[in-house]
């Protein structure tokens, strides 16, 4: 292992030249992408959770704020939670200002992430469309387009004909819910989910941070209202600041720290088809019928839908949701009918009272939480890490995180993206 020099390890850079060099010696010379050290006795900051959000938080703590004496503690394997279980959609066409701000920040960071991390995360800005299939949705998405314009988010409301041009495999004249238009974000897209976690991990390790896998936090210690450290399955570790970034298990960690969160853990499922040759160059989301689909670079159709409705920590969902989602997509894309479901899986997401995330101080001093991303966490990883790092470094939220404080629930100042909730007349 190269030794850290001035806080930075000098790791060999990835490039086509490095590949060629290594090919000559049968790739026996590649070094570890990240170190696997034993925990030190104390860190300036501990991040619990080495998923995308936790790793990104650590990365921007180091990069933006010079905080590098950091441990990222992971119960399982880094990137093994929702980061590696989602459908990798990246978009920022949100309605409310705080959402649009953080997701757009995130999306713009994704654009340069491969270069920033020297790890190809395969961000593919192929465009995301959200179909309008009722008059109500047309109005909702038109409103979003107007809001996005003022928020600096590049979207437009497009016609059914344009939808068909962008996605020829779609049936826009379905008998039940014909496509009436779509909100189109040309700069949205997908990325390779594992690579995001791995790339951040490698970069964190490069900065001298410790990524400690297979290490479960069993207790959180505090003194005089402030955090002092954690007990883990790999021993006691002290810290000045603690970031809890454990989607799905946020309530469990909050319980250890002695407070409750406005969160429930639910299963969210997804599936992929067998791979086929490229037939779909955009991401399509259809909220009326509850389904979304894109095609991965491997050729699989990547499909997702809604969450289960009951508290669940099993990472297994109920099949009827898969059935509903597949039904919706077969109706929208008749040509997928004879494709086969290759694999389905579930993850545990945490849902807040207003379905928007929490990046916040907590009742315990120097404990910060980043949670509640619900079904949309992957797209937020860089922005969330950016905002959480700022909060942890400064002790106060910056503009990106300010509105996502958990005290909004007491004030009744929600960030509600579900404008379609009041379908009526």
């Amino acid at each position: 292992m190269p030794q850290p020099v001035g806080g930075f390890a000098l790791k060999k850079r990835y490039s086509v030249f490095a590949i060629a060099r290594e090919a000559a010696r049968h790739h026996l010379g590649w070094e570890r992408a990240w170190a696997s050290p034993a925990p030190k006795a104390k860190y300036d900051a501990i991040i619990v959770g080495a998923g995308g959000h936790g790793l990104a938080t650590a990365y921007y703590l180091g990069k933006n704020h010079g905080v590098r004496n950091v441990a990222i503690i992971e119960k399982g394997w880094l990137g093994g939670g929702n980061t590696g279980r989602n459908t990798t959609i990246i978009r920022s066409n949100y309605l409310q200002d705080p959402s649009a701000a953080i997701y757009e920040k995130s999306r713009s960071l994704y654009e340069g992430l491969s270069q920033d991390l020297n790890y190809n995360v395969m961000f593919s800005p192929r465009g995301v469309m959200m179909l309008a299939q009722t008059q109500h949705e047309i109005r909702g998405y038109q409103r979003t387009a107007y809001a996005n314009k003022l928020q600096g988010v590049d979207t437009e409301f497009i016609s059914p004909q344009r939808v068909k041009e962008l996605c020829p495999i779609m049936d826009i004249d379905g008998p039940r819910y014909p496509v009436l238009g779509a909100l189109w974000q040309p700069r949205g897209g997908t990325a390779r989910h594992d690579a995001v976690a791995w790339g951040y991990a490698r970069a964190c390790s490069d900065m001298g941070m410790d990524i400690i896998q297979q290490c479960e936090v069993t207790a959180i210690h505090q003194s005089q209202g402030k955090v002092t450290g954690v007990s883990t399955t790999k021993g006691e570790i002290s810290c000045d600041k603690l970031g809890v970034v454990v989607a799905g298990h946020s309530s469990v960690l909050a319980g250890m720290a002695g407070f409750r969160l406005p969160i429930e853990s639910l299963a969210l499922q997804a599936l992929v088809s067998e791979p086929i040759k490229p037939c779909m160059d955009v991401v399509v989301m259809a909220n009326t019928v509850h389904g979304y689909m894109s095609q991965s670079d491997k050729g699989e159709m990547v499909i997702g839908g809604g969450t289960d409705g009951f508290n669940n920590y099993t990472q297994r969902g109920s099949f009827h949701h898969i059935e509903e989602t597949v039904r919706a997509l077969v109706e929208t894309f008749p040509m997928i009918s004879r494709l086969k479901m290759l694999r389905q899986w579930g993850g545990i997401v945490d849902m807040t009272g207003d379905r928007s995330p929490i990046i916040s101080k907590t009742p315990v001093g120097n404990i910060f939480v980043n949670c509640g991303w619900g079904t949309g966490g992957f797209k937020a990883i860089p922005g969330s890490g950016w905002a959480m790092a700022e909060l942890m470094a400064k002790g106060e939220p910056g503009p990106l995180a300010a509105e996502f404080s958990m005290d909004r629930f007491r004030a009744g100042k929600f960030i509600d993206e579900s404008v379609a909730a009041g379908v009526a007349h």
Partner: protein
């Protein structure tokens, strides 16, 4: 060459030749063939190209584990990519084409990737294509996408049908081999309701190939007798061609039945998805043979030993004339023996074990087959077809001892129980050192709703390899399952016997000390091109967990989901990490066991059956009279009634003008109608609505607002008091079910001691709004009750008859016109509507749709749930404080509306908006304020909630929410448009038409 043998073939019907196409070539097979066996019979060993390097690929296996033999099947509406040749039964006229090559299977340009494979190790794409940024999207990614993907994308709409079955049983037995048959027999004899399913077209599994003795007779005889006996049991249901696809919580199992695809002449649905609820699942899913990792183990002609045996015994098809067998266990000797017995040449059995011993070895030797002990294969020779093998010492580094010419290699690395179904729902595995396999850990199985184990593995799937053990284990599982469902176990397990076998020896690499250049040619995952060196690279780079290594290398992520590669890959990873296999763990098995079509999952729900459409009694009339429908919740409502030569916009304007000037009819049947009844009904409604309902006089109507406990406006509607303890609550169209559920929730879970009943009578009544200056004249013409202003004033209701129809008439208006909403029994809705249309002709009656309704309400400044509200709006924002009781101590939402943000004096509030140029404000547009916020977003101060061209006023009108709007009347604010221009609008009163309400109150 591979060819058809002159005799034998258990599954073949030699009297029924079949012809089929492969890559446009007409080939012949026999009824009973799979595509794979028929291709082999035609010496078509090459069946496809691998995913990454486009290496030539031949059939490896004979069942669901096949990674290579995937074809584009059929044409047009019947086209299906990635169809597995080993599990697809042949039929006359079948058309198959190999995948992932250009221009042809034999000559594939993509094979250049194989030459470049040095530069494309595991994870190479993470390390390159990084610069310049734009190249990924425009150059690298399209190239990678085009090279990947395997089968072609279908183009046409599927014309086949699919269906779902639901079944409830005590015991579901998955797998119809001898284990499954024994388990079903045990459970069936005990009296349990049993469903036995088998994924192939044949009962008996591998025992039919190897023919051990069962109960003193050849296995086939026992199989036939048992199948017949089970068939006689009324409590046992048996299905072939039905796969156990997935096991889910609480005993829910998904099964996938192929009905007609093996024989297109059959009528009916193509596939059926079974959703089975079972108390116990017995997984008799057998085992899958593992390949061995030696250099060149992917060259066409290298196959699983069991597969070669299957092809010879079941399909009378030889994969080659000279087959070298390579193994680490006794079972592969059965292949050598079977090949030899079929008259084929087995030049050598290469056994990695130093001193194999056992009855099968003895038999092979006696048949004159050469056995090389302690040896391995250093390298397979050949390109698109095996031409020979180089033999080495297993313990060494691969120095070649001898080369043996052959055209097939039969390999066996031992057997892995099929534990997928056991694992789907959380069943854990235990590593068995002696048998070199993961098998179900009975102590850590999947548990059901009652906390008890509900999946019971049986036979080989539970790690039993000898026939005697298989039968007793599976029979015991059957009995246990029957007992668990309240039945008494009967009978005893069938007895099996087969030759005694010596121990297997774990061999994860051949030879043991192979250098890197050999390891770079040892394939683990044939489809995804993952080699031993790739997994070692992953470990070296820190991708140490199985999940990391799998995802980094793509091992096991191909369409076979690693059925052949997972354990071998895991063993290589363990070795690289210096850890024991069980300490490294396994990846999680996900449903389905093998891929199932999306069509089967969707079932019948497509096209018109996609979702039920709720239709009012007058729906067909509307359709016949030019209605353009829009979905509102599950309902379809007429948006407008468009006449010939009219645009939709014209029609809407006509409907508004006609209603305002003469009369219009609106089908309002979809509005929710909830009867709330009981001594505490008034008290209850006082909690449900923000305003007071308990003091509403009998015979009167009141507009009510309903908030969620979180304070937000969720629904509105007119409430009528029917009698002393009965109220009728109208809801929005989309809100009826939601509001009903909301009421039930509070009644049952919070105020359960209150004496109130709620009934949703929405569909019991058809409701027609008769609207416009001529409305009264029409009703008076039809006659039957007094609808005069005096007898039936505004905001009152009365029962009576109109034109002979029993009717309840409400004097309420959502348009500002003289208006009667008239409910009649749903069955008379159409007749009533037609009567109104006929009698109304002289008064200029026209039907109108939802858009005209919207415009008229907007002209009057009435809010619409879903337009002015979006789940974030409180009544106070909408100037509806008059409808919020100050007297009531409590109602749902009251406490919430006291929170700091809700009482903030600076909220966006409802006003009217009038453009300075008379144009229509864009829907959804925001009004800008000066400056930008901390995130660089333009500050805003309001937004448009409803906007229309008013036919009545001849100009654009709008409502919107504006910061402190009601205090800023007359102020002009700016709404940017998407084209860069902006519209100026003045803040005005939201009531644009008939502010005094003179028209409705006549």
């Amino acid at each position: 060459m591979s060819t058809r043998l002159a005799t034998g073939g258990r599954f073949l019907d030699r009297a029924r030749p079949v012809s089929f196409d492969f890559n446009g070539k007409r080939l012949r097979g026999l009824a009973g063939d799979t595509i794979a066996s028929a291709l082999l019979a035609n010496d078509q060993m090459l069946v496809g190209r691998s995913f990454k390097y486009h290496r030539p690929r031949g059939v490896v296996a004979s069942g669901a584990e096949e990674p290579n033999g995937l074809v584009n099947l059929g044409k047009g509406a019947k086209f299906e990519p990635n169809q597995r040749v080993t599990t697809t039964e042949l039929f006359d006229g079948l058309q198959a084409a190999s995948q992932n090559h250009w221009p042809s299977l034999e000559f594939d340009v993509g094979a250049v990737n194989a030459r470049l494979s040095r530069f494309l190790p595991a994870g190479f794409y993470y390390k390159m294509f990084i610069h310049p940024r734009s190249f990924w999207k425009h150059i690298y990614e399209p190239f990678i996408r085009q090279s990947a993907g395997l089968g072609k994308a279908p183009k046409d709409r599927d014309t086949d049908t699919y269906e779902h079955f639901h079944a409830h049983v005590d015991v579901l037995v998955v797998g119809g081999g001898i284990a499954g048959l024994a388990a079903a027999m045990a459970a069936g004899q005990a009296g349990a309701r049993v469903l036995l399913i088998e994924q192939t077209a044949h009962w008996g599994g591998r025992a039919g190939v190897d023919q051990p003795q069962i109960d003193g007779k050849p296995a086939q005889e026992w199989i036939d007798e048992t199948v017949a006996a089970l068939g006689q049991m009324p409590n046992v249901q048996m299905r072939l061609r039905m796969m156990g696809a997935g096991v889910y919580d609480h005993g829910y199992v998904l099964a996938y039945e192929k009905l007609t695809e093996h024989d297109p002449s059959l009528a009916g649905p193509r596939q059926r998805l079974w959703q089975v609820r079972t108390a116990r699942v017995i997984t008799c899913t057998g085992a899958i043979e593992r390949p061995l990792s030696f250099a060149g183990n992917d060259i066409p002609g290298v196959m699983l030993a069991s597969a070669l045996r299957d092809y010879v015994v079941n399909y009378a098809t030889s994969a080659g004339d000279r087959t070298v067998v390579v193994t680490n266990n006794d079972d592969a000797y059965r292949t050598a023996i079977a090949l030899k017995a079929a008259g084929l040449v087995v030049p050598c059995i290469v056994d990695a074990r130093p001193s194999p011993a056992g009855e099968l070895i003895q038999t092979a030797r006696e048949m004159g087959i050469r056995v090389e002990a302690g040896k391995g294969i250093a390298k397979v020779k050949g390109g698109k077809r095996v031409t020979g093998v180089a033999i080495c010492a297993q313990a060494g580094e691969g120095a070649v001892l001898e080369e043996i010419a052959c055209d097939a290699v039969a390999m066996s690395g031992g057997w892995s129980p099929v534990v997928h179904l056991w694992s789907h729902c959380g069943g854990k595995l235990v590593w068995d050192d002696e048998k070199v396999m993961f098998r179900p850990d009975a102590a850590r199985g999947p548990t059901g709703a009652d906390g008890a184990l509900f999946v019971l593995p049986g036979g080989t799937a539970n790690g039993a390899l000898q026939t005697a053990d298989v039968l007793s284990d599976a029979f015991a599982a059957g009995q246990a399952a029957a007992q668990a469902t309240g039945h008494k176990a009967k009978g005893k397990a069938p007895a099996g016997s087969d030759p005694a076998e010596g121990p297997i020896s774990p061999v994860w690499m051949m030879p043991q000390g192979a250098g890197i250049s050999l390891r770079e040619k040892m394939w683990l995952d044939y489809q995804n091109d993952v080699k031993v060196s790739d997994v070692q690279l992953a470990a070296r780079e820190g991708y140490e967990s199985v999940e990391h290594a799998k995802r980094y290398t793509t091992l096991g992520m191909a369409t076979d989901q690693g059925k052949l590669s997972n354990i071998n890959g895991l063993a290589v990873l363990s070795d690289a990490l210096g850890a024991a296999i069980p300490n490294v763990g396994t990846t999680t098995f996900r449903p389905p066991y093998t891929p199932i079509t999306l069509a089967a999952i969707a079932g019948v729900a497509k096209g018109d059956l996609f979702q039920p459409v709720r239709k009012t009694p007058m729906h067909n009339w509307h359709a016949e009279h030019g209605a353009e429908f829009e979905p509102v919740g599950q309902w379809h409502r007429p948006y407008a009634f468009v006449r010939k030569g009219e645009t939709t916009h014209d029609a809407v304007a006509r409907e508004v003008n006609n209603t305002r000037k003469a009369m219009g009819l609106l089908d309002a049947s979809t509005l929710g109608k909830l009867i709330v009844k009981g001594p505490d009904a008034g008290r209850f409604l006082d909690m449900m609505y923000t305003n007071m309902m308990s003091n509403l006089a009998v015979g009167k109507c009141r507009y009510g607002l309903m908030c969620s406990e979180n304070g937000f406006l969720m629904d509105d509607g007119v409430v009528a008091r029917i009698d002393e303890d009965t109220w009728l609550c109208h809801t929005t169209t989309g809100g009826a079910d939601r509001v009903h559920a909301h009421m039930e929730d509070w009644l049952q879970c919070e105020w359960w001691d209150w004496k109130v009943y709620v009934a949703n009578v929405t569909e019991q009544f058809a409701q027609v709004a008769v609207v416009g200056p001529n409305a009264r004249k029409l009703l008076e013409k039809l006659g039957g009750m007094d609808v005069s202003k005096e007898t039936l004033p505004f905001m009152q209701w009365a029962d009576g008859t109109i034109g002979g129809f029993d009717a309840r008439v409400f004097r309420i208006s959502f348009s500002g016109e003289l208006s009667y909403e008239i409910a009649v029994p749903a069955g008379q809705g159409l007749a009533f509507w037609e009567a109104l249309m006929a009698a109304g002709e002289e008064f200029g009656v026209m039907p109108y749709g939802t858009e005209a309704l919207h415009i008229m309400r907007a002209e009057k400044g009435f809010i619409m749930i879903g337009d002015e509200t979006d789940g974030t709006i409180i009544p106070q924002d909408l100037g509806l404080s008059w409808a919020i009781s100050k007297k009531k101590e409590d109602f749902l939402g009251k406490r919430a509306q006291e929170r700091s943000h809700m009482t903030d004096p600076n909220r966006w509030k409802l006003v009217g908006l009038e453009t300075l140029d008379g144009s229509v404000l864009p829907d959804g547009a925001y009004a800008v304020a000066s400056g930008h916020n901390g995130n660089g977003q333009r500050n805003t101060q309001g937004r448009v909630t409803s906007t229309y061209m008013s036919p009545t006023l001849g100009k654009g009108i709008a409502m919107g929410l504006v910061l402190n709007g009601p205090d800023r009347m007359g102020e002009v604010i700016e709404f940017p448009k998407l084209d860069g221009t902006a519209v100026q609008a003045r803040i005005v009163d939201q009531v644009f038409f008939d502010k005094a309400g003179e028209k409705q109150n006549v």
